[in-house]
Subunit: 136 residues, 2 copies
DNA sequence: TAATTTTTGCAACATAATTGCATTTATTAT
DNA sequence: ATAATAAATGCAATTATGTTGCAAAAATTA
């Protein structure tokens, strides 16, 4: 996985902040919130830059959002299948109540949901919280 | 379903705002956001009162939160099984992309999720978004 | 290397959420 | 029913979060 490659593949100009933020995602065990990026970074980017970078990455299909119950959006790297406009991050997200790490459980299967008459699905998010393997 | 009963059962003193907000949930088709309550109410409660009331209701297990992808917490009435501390709102939530109504799909089944070794579940949220029966 | 395009950072603004404290309201005990 | 106590409310102040316009800086293209 090459940072530069990702940017170029998506026709994004290669800038310092984009490289650094992508790296943070790459090194992160799980998902990151805006606040994580803002605090963590030794070099500090402007808040606005972070917002805009995350948004760019999301529309390009480089990262995807994970809704959480505590009103903070999390972002995580997408796997290959995502593309502009429509995400295909069909996996379960697990948030550890103890260490707060968010995992993308790519290999955990789940059966498709059968909605009532008249309802059509566009996106499905499955978020499980509990205790992760490290915190037991 | 008796508003007063719910409050008394939970050792909450019976106040105007609590009664009114509970009633709003009762009449609402689906879930409500803080903003809905703030705007909707003919009598206007202080923002702070609404925050505090929602929080109280949630810790008591009267309402539960629904995570959404756009960073706005929704709240909906719990069914009987919820209790202080631990919610048992095991149902799928559906958010309409068009009219924004949120439905608790109590009767839509889903198979339980088998987590990897070392992970234990505490809470599971399944949020489906798309178009609801009214908006087709 | 110059011209052009894009991104960044700052300032200003808008909204959302939290905290402390005095006042008001509800509950309990008399 | 009323006084004493406890709890909830509303206001003000503060902090956090998110957005927009625009000039300066950096990246890309010619």
């Amino acid at each position: 996985m090459d940072i530069l490659d990702i940017l170029k593949r998506n026709n994004l100009s290669v800038t310092d902040s984009r490289k650094k933020i992508l790296e943070m995602f790459h090194h992160a065990d799980g998902a990151l919130a805006h606040a994580d990026i803002e605090k963590n970074s030794s070099e500090n980017f402007d808040r606005v830059t972070i917002y805009r970078t995350l948004q760019t990455f999301e529309t390009k299909g480089i990262i995807h959002t994970i809704p959480t119950a505590d009103n903070s959006i999390l972002y995580a790297l997408c796997k290959e299948e995502c593309s502009q406009g429509h995400h295909r991050d069909n996996h379960i997200h697990f948030i550890c109540d103890s260490c707060n790490t968010t995992y993308c459980l790519d290999h955990v299967p789940y059966s498709s949901i059968h909605l009532p008459e008249g309802f059509t699905e566009n996106r499905t998010d499955i978020i499980v919280s509990g205790i992760c393997h490290k915190c037991h």
